[in-house]
């Protein structure tokens, strides 16, 4: 059977956002991102409904659904499950066949995944115990600076003299930021300092996996131009960024639904 009538959905149930991607052949037909809210099940159902309605499809037309992410266990519909590492890797590989390192900077963690030349997951490392290793660090500092998340990147790029924090703790950095503001530090220099600290953590993970060219930066962090530039600088290479960095795991889930159908090995 040709894949003309095959449609696949991937749903990434994250703690902050639930994302869904609908693919047909190799194209993304529709996608949706909703804030997770208190009830993952209900939101997951809504995300799937919306992505289907955007694609003018009904549920029974889908040839396969894969769910991933922290809430995958409790998906309210029939679906197969893949780990978020596998999905993230599959999503980035489908966008960038040359990808060998995937850095995923999310609200609660930073992950680095190493891929084999064939695109399989060779190894991965995570930093999830400490807010300084995650996008949360940026949120904490942006709140004090009264900067909107989307303004962080462009502002940070204007920095001439990034602040160097004396601490590796987001809570202590918060008070340090307040003293730096009192001393006259510029907002952009503080943000660029946070970007550098985050980039250094990511680079440390990548070094432990052994750096290779073909670095993709994904997750919410990929939407922050200041962070992208800091990671490039820390690794000494240009990094590839998907157009929709928050969707790569959902895209990977849809890709795996297509590639790894039950019974096809």
């Amino acid at each position: 059977m040709s894949d003309d009538h095959e449609y696949y959905a991937g749903i990434d149930i994250g703690s902050a956002f639930i994302k869904a991607v609908l693919i047909h052949q190799k194209q993304i037909m529709a996608y949706e991102i909703l804030s997770s809210g208190g009830n993952y099940n209900e939101t997951a159902r809504r995300v799937l409904d919306q992505v289907l309605s955007k694609g003018h499809l009904s549920l029974h037309k889908l040839s396969g659904i894969v769910v991933t992410g922290i809430g995958a266990e409790s998906a309210p519909f029939q679906a197969r499950q893949f780990s978020d590492i596998s999905c993230q890797a599959a999503g980035c590989r489908s966008l960038f066949p040359s990808a060998r390192i995937v850095i995923d900077i999310g609200g609660q963690f930073t992950r680095a995944i190493k891929l084999t030349p064939q695109g399989r997951v060779a190894n991965f490392l995570m930093s999830e115990k400490c807010a300084t290793g995650s996008g949360r660090f940026l949120q904490v500092i942006a709140r004090i600076l009264r900067i909107k998340i989307e303004d962080i990147g462009p502002l940070s790029l204007k920095s001439q003299r990034p602040v160097e924090f004396s601490t590796n703790c987001a809570v202590f950095a918060e008070s340090e930021t307040i003293s730096r503001i009192a001393e006259g530090a510029r907002t952009e220099d503080i943000l660029a300092g946070v970007h550098r600290a985050l980039a250094a953590k990511a680079a440390m993970l990548v070094k432990r996996l052994k750096m290779e060219e073909g670095v993709v930066l994904t997750g919410g962090g990929g939407e922050d131009a200041g962070l992208v530039s800091a990671v490039s600088e820390a690794l000494g290479v240009d990094v590839l960024v998907p157009e929709q960095p928050r969707l790569t795991a959902a895209l990977g889930a849809a890709t795996l639904a297509k590639e790894q159908k039950p019974g096809t090995g």
């Binding site: 208190g38 400490c130 807010a131 949360r136 590796n168 703790c169 987001a170 809570v171 202590f172």
Partner: protein, 276 residues
Amino acid sequence: MPFAGVDIGSTMTKAVIVDGHGTVVASVIGPTGAEHRHLALAVMDETIKKAGLSFEQLDFIVATGYGRINVPFADKQITEITCHSRSIRALFPTVRIIIDIGGQDSKGIKLDTEGKVMNFIMNDKCAAGTGRFLEVIAETLGIKLTEMGELSLKAKDFVRISNTCTVFAEHEVTTRLTEGATIPEIVAGLHEAFAGRVVNMVRSLGIEKDVVVTGGGAMNIGLIKAIEEKVGFPVLVPPEPLLTGALGAAFMGMDLLARGVTSQQDRRLEGVTFFK
């Protein structure tokens, strides 16, 4: 013969004046701000007034705490490890382990049977396990830091807090609240997590009786109880846990003068006038 000790902590500045017998004549506790120097002087001034003395009458002034370098009127700067050990040893001769829980750091100190410092360990890298952890979460819960101890004693059980990171724990706490946990249960859980972290750190020194807990954390009865659970026996708490650093500093001045070290009394005033 009056001796003064001033302890510039990360959160509080403390000063103590003792007489020649080591009896406390006056003490003052004030907040530490960005301007250490002015505050150190203001707190010292107030203590001197309370004691009915003048700057020139002090035989020796020792500064300690993380801001000790910024005390221009002090005759000598001594680390808080030494100062805490000195005063706590005087208060509790049987002490072998001191746990000092400050606003932005926590320390463990091990003493030998003679009261000498054998080893110490410290965390000032991560807010977890320091007073800041409770301070941040108290704000999230809309309660006062000073009422957390009593509040936690009302809980029959505690809510396990799985995140070490203060920022993540803050989020975890709000989730637990929406799930129906009570504030006393959460606060008891915070104390349990906090105590676990501090006691684990100190364990590397080898815990031996007696254990003395000092610093602002020692004023929290819930935290003390949680620490006792973790070490497995009762701990001792000084009557004024915030003052042990400054008190030890004053005692050190006494010791130094007895050993013939001279104070810089004549140069002291210069420093004072300069920063006034």
